[in-house]
């Protein structure tokens, strides 16, 4: 009898405990919403000066391989310089897509990193998220000049007239070439194809079959939305409406028009004719093909150059050429791509925010950008970096890097070459990839791109609705 009553009491207590815990859980999740609106101001330098002990900050990034190693070097250099005062921990979060997704979840959890590297197309979302302190505010507060940032690049990351995030790794796509394959096919590696039609022609000559099996592909590239964005910019047309989202919030994407369909048709033909293997959307897999020497031409970011040079050592010679134009008559230029560093505000102490700013400044300094440039292949975003002796020596040793620098300086800023500003740009890129993939797998290119463009429309509307609320 007694034990029965005890048990009932126990059950009641259990339920009470559950209710209490549940309530605590609910209370917790509400709190994160409160401080989201504040904390976007830049504190003064005294916040860090007054801080006692080591101020610890975290830095989330999406760099791996040779680039990841360069980030670790940067982190060590910073920690050594600020020993006893600031300590930064760099955390790899997966590729760019994973990083922004993880970041988004961290906002939800209320434990955002102090500094996060976000790709160019995530910029609009980052601004709308109201989670960050514009680097311009820090610079204004300190009277720090941002003049040495490459104007083309600074321009790209300035929205509404102020620099929101610090450009970090800036890249453009290049046409990579396997020199020996060109020579063997009787082509001149110094006169690379300059548009899609020429690539197809060259690829035909560069594709080698043995007994019905392809041993060398003329060309290869991932099904990567970035290439479509770049080719669109090359043609001087916009990727989304309202002047690439700069006049007003964009309401639709344009990749179902003439340019997009042309690109999809080209992809389809390249695979159909056997000049290019379909390695899917994973850029890693496409890169592996070029690295293994089974492809003669390849599209990738300048940021992959260092890794390619390392991989090709002793096997073949990697050359670079300007990113191809969509059609021979095109007058546009490629978009400055890459990623920038965002300082997080809400949920971080003033000392931490200052420490983040110190780190961001450090990462953009000429010395560090020179190290970054030579270690990865990304551009130095600080124009002074190119003047440093170690950078000059490097460029002299690896002339392949020059292609990128020339390409950057030749690009004339325009709405087309600044890229589309769209809150759901990451999803739009994915949609375009779905379209390209469908075309590659046999769907009529016009239909594939139309379906893809339609599929992103509800998400654009939804986002606009959420932000305008």
């Amino acid at each position: 009898m007694r034990s029965v009553r005890q048990r009932r009491t126990a059950t009641a207590a259990a339920l009470l405990a559950v209710v209490a815990l549940v309530a605590a859980g609910c209370g917790g999740s509400d709190a994160s919403g409160d401080n989201a609106s504040s904390g976007q101001d830049a504190p003064g330098a005294d916040a860090l000066d007054k801080a006692t002990g080591v101020t610890k900050i975290t830095f989330w990034h999406g760099m791996k391989g040779a680039n990841g190693a360069a980030v670790d070097k940067l982190m060590k250099a910073f920690n050594a310089k600020n020993s006893g005062k600031i300590e930064v921990t760099a955390v790899y979060q997966g590729d760019y897509d994973d990083t922004i997704t993880k970041y988004k979840t961290s906002v939800q959890q209320g434990n955002t990193p102090s500094v996060v590297q976000i790709y160019d197309i995530g910029s609009r979302f980052m601004i709308d998220s109201k989670q960050t302190v514009p680097v311009q505010s820090f610079a204004d507060k300190d009277g720090y000049t941002l003049d040495s940032i490459e104007p083309n690049i600074a321009n790209y990351y300035s929205i509404d007239g102020k620099l929101n995030s610090m450009p970090f790794n800036t890249s453009m796509p290049l046409l990579y070439i396997n020199k020996e394959a060109f020579v063997k096919a009787g082509l001149d590696p110094n006169k690379p194809p300059s548009n899609l039609d020429e690539i197809m022609e060259a690829a035909k000559k560069l594709t080698i079959k043995q007994g019905g099996k392809t041993v060398q592909y003329g060309f290869n590239a991932a099904i990567y939305g970035w290439f479509l964005e770049q080719l669109t910019a090359q043609s001087g047309t916009t990727y989304c409406d309202n002047e690439n989202g700069r006049k007003d919030l964009a309401t639709k994407v344009n990749f179902d028009d003439e340019q997009g369909v042309k690109i999809a048709t080209w992809y389809q033909q390249m695979v159909k004719l056997g000049y290019m293997p379909n390695t899917g959307k994973k850029t890693d897999d496409a890169q592996a093909v070029f690295k293994s020497g089974t492809s003669a031409m390849h599209l990738e970011s300048t940021g992959s150059l260092r890794g390619y040079l390392d991989a090709a050592k002793g096997k073949f010679t990697v050359l670079t050429a300007p990113f191809p134009k969509l059609s021979a008559a095109d007058t546009g230029g490629p978009i400055i791509g890459g990623a920038s560093l965002w300082v997080d505000g809400p949920g971080h102490s003033d000392a931490e925010k200052r420490a983040s700013w110190e780190f961001v400044k450090f990462a953009s300094s000429p010395e560090q950008q020179a190290a970054w440039h030579t270690g990865t292949g990304y551009f130095p975003i600080n124009s002074k970096a190119l003047d440093l002796p170690e950078d000059k020596a490097w460029v002299a040793q690896y002339p392949q890097f020059t292609t990128a620098i020339t390409q950057l300086h030749n690009t004339k800023p325009s709405n087309a070459s600044s890229g589309c500003i769209l809150g759901v740009m990451p999803q739009a890129r994915k949609a375009s990839e779905d379209g390209l993939e469908k075309a590659v797998l046999g769907t009529d290119p016009a239909k594939a791109m139309k379906d893809a463009a339609d599929s992103i429309k509800p998400q654009i509307d939804q986002y606009t609705k959420t932000v305008k609320k």
Binding site: V91, S106, Q108, Q287, S292
Partner: protein
Amino acid sequence: MTAGRFITYAVLVLAAIAVIFPVYYVIAGSIMAPGQISSYPPDLFPHGLFTGNYEGATSTTAIGRQYVNSVLQTSVITLSQLITSVLAAYAFVFMKMWGRTLLFGLFLGTLMVPWESIVLPNYLTITGWELGGQRLTASYAGTMIALVLPFLANAFGVFLLRQSFLQFPTELRDAAVIDGCGHWRFMRRILIPLNKPALMAVGLYVFLAAWNQFFWPLLIGDNANRRTLQIGISQLNDVEAANPGLILAGVVLSILPTLAIVIFGQRFIVRGLTAGAIR
């Protein structure tokens, strides 16, 4: 040998090769130099022992720490489930109470809820909790807690142990109680020692399930030092895409414990994992 016997052997050997091949490949590939493993056409036999992949896997990743995390996560879950299951099974078998059958039915009902159906609210709840003024998942200890919390009890263990306890003669238990043996003493001194096989079975089952977890740890750990081995391995695959030998070396390191269990503890596994199949 008759034709029938021959076919039997041929099919068996072919099947065995198909099953073992990936196991061979992971080991062979892990000791191949980078040039060899990505050569085309492929070369199946390592040219000597290349240890660079193992050096790479241990130095460029946090695999050691992830091992510790996984062992920690797995042992806490296993131990906790054993304890909670013994307690609950004991109550269901030896304590007469109101609504016992109904409650047991509810327990079994929880087995029918797939984790993926409730992962989102659990994620929102647990990441919303705070520990010592900061988010639970912001610290290492908090992350480990979040990793194990939802799995501290499971009805499967309760079910299996209840089956086992039911076979315990009631007279024996009554005698023990008359001798002044309370619940705890009876449990510790008599019931648990007598049900060791069933406990082993549950423990092994829970261990393997926890060790293999993927979805939840993927959501919870947000830096390399807080991830479990399984997530670490899948990230290695991502980061070192151009370096398959290194990836395979990481895989070999990650499967050592379970491989040892399968090779040397097959008998336990058969007993443990088929516990649910044999009624």
